[in-house]
Amino acid sequence: MVKIAGLVTLILDIILVLTTVFLMLSARKAVEGGNKVIYKVRKPYATLLILALVAIFAYTITKMPYRAMALTTPAATVNVTGHMWYWQMEQEGAPALGALPKGEVIEFAVTAADVNHGFGVFDPDGKIVGQTQAMPGYTNHVRMVLEKPGLYHVLCMEYCGLVHQAMIGFLTVE
């Protein structure tokens, strides 16, 4: 996902730069009414843009994280509470947070005890798996599949004060 997003951004940026250079170079010659062609291109461009945006919207809206894996019964549910500046994580039905099962759907029920925090799960290679906000007075439910075994890091993804940069939790996946 990140690779596709990065690549799409890069390609579109290159097109924008090349188009700008082309336009600026074209201005060396003055042609009366030479800009009519721009208006001719505009309609097909707008049509294509709208179609592309509608298609991307239609696809991506089905992949929203809010109801992801909603039909699956999670293998484990972890109740998470963000505090200034640590993560309190408890596994439902277990005396303590143990190792979470690899490749299974895990539900995190995330809230905060004091201020806003951001619950961001990073895999053992440092790649972000998913996130949700931790907000006082609300509980956000997010489901994730942790594919790789090893130590996952939970970083705070919402600025929460003085020790925000060191508010780190850990999850073990086996």
Binding site: M1, V2, A5, T9, L12, D13, T19, T20, M24, S26, A27, K29, V31, G34, N35, V37, I38, Y39, R42, Y45, A46, L49, L53, I56, F57, T60, I61, K63, P65, Y66, D114, V115, N116, G118, G120, F122, P124, D125, G126, K127, I128, G130, T132, Q133, G137, Y138, T139, N140, V142, Y152, H153, E158, Y159, C160, G161, L162, V163, H164, Q165, I168
Partner: protein, 481 residues
């Protein structure tokens, strides 16, 4: 009157530019600290971060409003008194905010998410109170300024005409509505609503400050705060576009008026800009899902009028026009490009599915710094160059090359950071043990600081170029023009 209007505008432009330069300095300091090149305590870092965000957005917004005020003043009777009152209020608010952050240590970030300013804060309570009051004073300044712009336009053209609905209805009026009036109206209406949203939030914060037992809703206040921030930042860019619409025909010798498509586009933009802020709350799963979807639709939707009307409009001004490239038209065109490049990254991140990865990573500052620094700021500088009738063209263009190099270099480091998942708003990355994020974050921050320094030096050189080689006769010519 023209001279007095110019002087009032100059007062705003000088403050806006001066604060902009100082805020770049704070930004460089933060990137140097993240890059482990200097050491500053986290409390100081977050106070600088707060001031950087509020100061940069606030001062650029004020400068942007002064651009449309000046443009509107060419055809409408704006109030000099209101401009000066707003200016003084803004200055008082800005100085008080500097004191609250840099002396008092107020550091909850520009958005001061409830209830952070009031809970276990690392700064004294008076700093929170002073920051709230100073922001309210600045809000009153913006509000007065915008309402006067709207009043002046309504008095001249009629309130019903300001959004060009007659064009949408298919009627071509006997007296055409200037494009700049349509854009200025959109900016002032959206800006006023955004400012009111911020003011309402701050009034509640003030109540909380004087009565700590008050309980407020964190999600509601997050909505109102992001509506404020999102709207005023976007309005800045549209004010920059107002300058482009106003001045580009002077260089291209091509007219740029309102037609039905333009009218529809700017009305749609007004609607989109007010509701796109929902994309800031995608990761608040408790928020109604419909609002998230509205966020994605309006964010996608804003790309259509922005590119098919405004960017195509710039293209039609340029293509085979015979423009002699000088600083102002070049900075307008490259500003449009920078706006579009930032827009691409914004639209990508406004996709809910993608936002799960990019939310609050460095991708976010990457995109908004892009459409600010190499988008709006280039348009702003293009306006300044023309406004002051700068005589040092080569000097200005040389500084522009430095700004392009420094700007895009600086931004690339943010994009790379975002791509690799480096979180934003971290005083240091050293505690992160996940993967190689800490090393990458520090490296990109160091290089970002280097490029930002190049930009800063170039921006100061540009400011010098505005007045280099001028004679008293040039000054008189500007006023007469």
């Amino acid at each position: 009157m023209e001279k007095r209007n110019r002087n009032a505008t100059i007062a705003w432009l000088v403050v806006s530019f001066a604060v902009f330069v100082v805020m770049i300095g704070l930004g460089i300091t933060m990137r140097l600290a993240q890059g482990l090149r200097i050491e500053i305590p986290p409390a100081t870092f977050y106070a600088l971060m707060t001031m950087h965000g509020l100061g940069m957005a606030g001062a650029l917004f004020a400068g942007a409003l002064s651009i449309i005020w000046y443009i509107v003043s060419r055809t409408c009777k704006v109030s000099l008194g209101v401009s000066w009152i707003s200016w003084w209020l803004f200055l008082i608010g800005a100085v008080a905010l500097l004191y609250a952050t840099l002396v008092g240590g107020f550091g909850p970030g520009w958005y001061a998410l409830y209830p952070l300013p009031f809970v276990n804060a690392a700064w004294p309570s008076w700093a929170t109170g002073l920051a709230i009051i100073s922001l309210l004073i600045m809000g009153v300044a913006w509000l007065l300024y915008q309402l006067d712009i709207l009043r002046a336009m309504a008095a001249q053209y009629g309130a019903k005409r300001l959004l060009a609905w007659e064009y949408i209805a298919g009627r071509t009026p006997a007296e055409p509505l200037p494009a700049v009036i349509l854009i200025a109206s959109m900016c002032a209406i959206a800006g006023t609503l955004g400012t009111l949203s911020g003011a309402a939030t701050l009034v509640l914060y003030f109540l909380k400050w004087i009565s700590p037992a008050t309980n407020l809703d964190a999600l509601l206040l997050k909505n109102t705060m992001f509506m404020f921030g999102h709207v005023i930042v976007n309005v800045c860019i549209y004010c920059g576009l107002c300058a482009v619409y106003h001045l580009m025909p002077k260089y291209s010798k091509r007219p740029w008026g309102v037609n039905r498509v333009t009218a529809i586009a700017w009305n749609a933009t007004l609607l989109f800009v007010l509701f796109a802020y929902f994309h800031h709350l995608y990761m608040d799963f408790a928020q109604n899902k419909t609002l998230h979807i509205i966020g994605q639709i309006t964010s996608y939707g804003s790309a259509v009028p922005a590119t098919a009307v405004s960017l195509f409009g710039i293209a039609s001004q340029v293509y085979k026009s015979g423009i002699k490239w000088s600083f102002t038209p070049a900075s307008f065109v490259l500003g449009g490009m920078g706006w579009a490049i930032g827009g691409v990254a914004a639209v990508v991140d406004s996709t809910i599915m993608v936002n799960s990865y990019f939310h609050n990573t460095l991708w976010v500052p990457a995109h908004f710094h892009t459409y600010f620094l190499v988008g709006y700021v280039f348009m702003f500088f293009g306006f300044l160059h023309d406004f002051f009738n700068s005589k040092a063209e080569r000097f200005a263009v040389t500084s522009f090359v430095g700004m392009i190099l420094g700007g895009y270099g600086f931004l690339s480091m943010f994009y790379l950071g975002g791509y690799f998942g480096v979180p934003r708003r971290y005083a240091a990355y050293t505690a992160i043990q996940a993967g190689d994020i800490a090393n990458k974050g520090a490296l990109f921050a160091s290089l970002g600081a280097l490029f930002a320094t190049i930009f800063l030096i170039s921006a100061i050189a540009f400011a010098i170029s505005l007045f280099a080689g001028r004679t008293p006769a040039d000054e008189k010519a500007v006023t007469a023009a």
